[in-house]
Symmetry: C2
Subunit: 415 residues, 2 copies
């Protein structure tokens, strides 16, 4: 968690870190600036000292919300340096960083670079840093980075925020269920009150509105039906009408409005009824869900959970990416991933990545699935879990896992 | 525009470009893949040949929507390479890129790198590329990049999309105006039908709902009142009640839902009445608006428009960032910027950046403003313009520019 940063810097023998980047969603900067909404700006942190956020003078009020020490680029003489660099922004940045580091008392040492920015600008800046600020050694971590390691466990405030997002997301899932359950069947399609066929786009619109009413934003939910549900990342076609008896994979992973912490959950639904083939596959996925929870253990490697699921599916004759890495059918992804400011964080629950262990403060998904696009269906069920202070795996996703959404009209007819 | 890519590659003596990156909003990849919603994937384009989009097998259906040739990383043997690299993702990427480039027939040459990714991962990858794929020269453009230059002018399809976003954003601005005009004054605050004071958060919620109903998403609008309006990028405080006679800077810059093209507009409002000091400053800003349009000329440098406005404001005694680069008062930003997939694109209308000229197909903002936070106000007025096929500057932002929102109750009382 955030309080580990100095320890993680020491482990890496870093004297300082700089977190920089542009306007794109910049996880590392969001994290270390506690969500301050700034477009331009970099964080400079010397080991064992508080971090300094350097921002444009236009954003100083927003920057102050970070709780960090704030200085504007103008105060630090950036615009004079820009003139001196004759408009060469890379050169101006070099001069400016050198000013800031000197001011912070660091005249040599190892500096870790983090943040998110354009690939081309990053490389150009890095080349210039190496050439012209040779008193520093700039360090770029490819994997298992300081930021990723800090984010691997969440503090109480972060867990509270994710819990709150979870409650709201579960409520929206329920609203979508209830709306579908209220529809009137007409052959294989479903009609709303006005008699119009209800489409995937209608459900997505409903979900987006209900998320927004709860201070959440959609980040491109999946609501994929039939063959589309057989491709794990297919978003679903907005103009496709809902159909009875087809699998719908509904993967909802909203975040706090404007960018922030996520929740991630998936349900697979069949409206009205489930064909036996789908019911059988669904039961297999639910068994995998239970098996993966049983395979959990505090301080145990996360890949053991994935391997338990791989054994289970392969034992039942389903192809997996372990038995055939290029398969498009069967179990084609990892069991889960961490969730936070990014929708995909560590720990990774994959057989290909074997260095993560389950720790207190982890927030992670468990999401086994089976996919058969050529047979016209896919199934995935996903909850978000926290590893709580007792080291127990606790679901944040209480919403029911029923496969079939019974239509109220059906019930009416039967009674 | 996009059809210029081969020419722009030739000018830069690039044999190929690779556009890569992670899950963050990746403008270059969005642009070249025509908005395909993929989380992982890179575009490989050899000069004068069609581009190849390489994606995860989980996203092949979404990738196909790019209209590009698509291959999965599995088809290209990535997972074997990953195994060979023993899970070192940078090494696996090197081997994989080498495979793809060979397959495309490029065994040596200059390759431009673009996209958006984590700073640390980009640098680690770049170091590895330089060391281990020495048959290629990897080129990183810091400024005036191929992608930026292509995006500098929009094609007919892009302009049509931006026009459509403009119409919808203008409609939402009007709804916000009408709602405020319908409120009941109570002293200096404003009450809704239920008698509750209306807050900035209420207006933002209304605007977000109305944007969403039109297939648009908010990207953190500014609705800043009083002193907050004096800081150009202050977002405004959600729990602050609307107040009569204070400036409200309402800067609305939504984009197509899920990421896509933007519109950008700002109005400054005073509810009920405008104090004379604010009226005077407002008129000065509107003069600057007209002056900048007069300073426009096809093929003329964009900085001339900014300089005309700087002359105007300085002549009236307002500080500017030309007269005092660190000023927090007066005119503290550039006159405008291009708009497209990014909210800030080229051309830049700044006195600090002098190399852009006005061209057919530009989409740009004009947004003069004056800011006096210590006097409790700020004013900005912004339209989005297209330079049309006749070379004329045409506003896409017809919504009225009145300063004062008259309250209907006032009108009622007066009549």
């Amino acid at each position: 968690m955030k309080s580990d940063i100095d320890r993680l810097m020491r482990e890496r023998q870093l004297d300082a870190i700089i977190v920089t980047g542009g306007e794109e969603f910049n996880t590392a900067r969001y994290y270390l600036s506690n969500g301050a909404r700034i477009t331009h700006g970099s964080i400079f942190k010397i080991i064992d000292k508080p971090a300094l956020l350097v921002c444009s003078r236009m954003e100083v009020e927003e920057a102050a919300k970070s709780g960090l020490e704030v200085m504007t680029d103008a105060e630090l003489g950036f615009y004079d340096r820009y003139k001196e660099a004759e408009g060469d922004s890379i050169k101006a940045t070099l001069l400016h960083w050198s000013d800031v580091l000197s001011r912070l008392g660091l005249n040599a040492g190892r500096i870790g670079l983090y943040g998110a920015w354009q690939v081309n600008k990053t490389i150009a800046l890095y080349e210039a840093l190496r050439a012209d600020l040779a008193q520093y050694e700039f360090v770029a971590e490819a994997e298992g980075t300081l930021i990723e390691e800090a984010m691997l466990t969440k503090d109480a405030d972060e867990i509270a925020r994710i819990r709150s997002v979870a409650q709201r997301a579960n409520a929206v899932m329920e609203i979508a269920w209830d709306f579908i359950a209220s529809l009137r069947p007409a052959g294989e399609t479903l009609l709303d009150e006005s008699g119009a066929p209800v489409t995937i786009g209608d459900i997505k619109d409903l979900a987006r509105r209900e998320l927004m009413a709860r201070g959440l934003e959609d980040t491109d939910m999946i609501f994929a039906q039939g063959r589309d549900a057989g491709f794990p990342h297919s978003r679903g076609e907005a103009d496709m009408p809902l159909r009875m008896g087809q699998t719908i994979v509904f993967d909802l992973f909203p975040r706090e409005l404007g960018g922030g912490y996520h929740h991630d959950m998936t349900r697979t639904w069949c409206i009205g009824y489930a064909p036996p083939e789908i019911r059988g596959v669904y039961d297999k996925v639910m068994e995998a869900f239970d098996i993966s929870i049983e395979a959990f253990g505090l301080n145990k490697p996360t890949h053991l959970m994935q391997e338990a699921v791989l054994d289970h599916f392969e034992g039942a004759g389903h192809p997996t990416t372990r038995s055939n890495p290029s398969t498009m059918e069967g179990y084609v992804h990892s069991l889960g991933h961490g969730v936070g400011i990014d929708i995909h964080e560590r720990p990774s629950l994959s057989h290909l990545r074997r260095d993560d262990i389950c720790q207190i403060g982890n927030i992670l998904t468990i999401e086994p699935g089976l996919y058969y696009p050529e047979r016209g269906f896919g199934v995935r069920v996903e909850d978000l879990f926290v590893v709580d202070e007792k080291g127990e795996l606790v679901s944040l996703t209480p919403f029911r896992k029923d496969l079939v959404i019974p239509l109220r009209d059906d019930v009416g007819t039967a009674q």
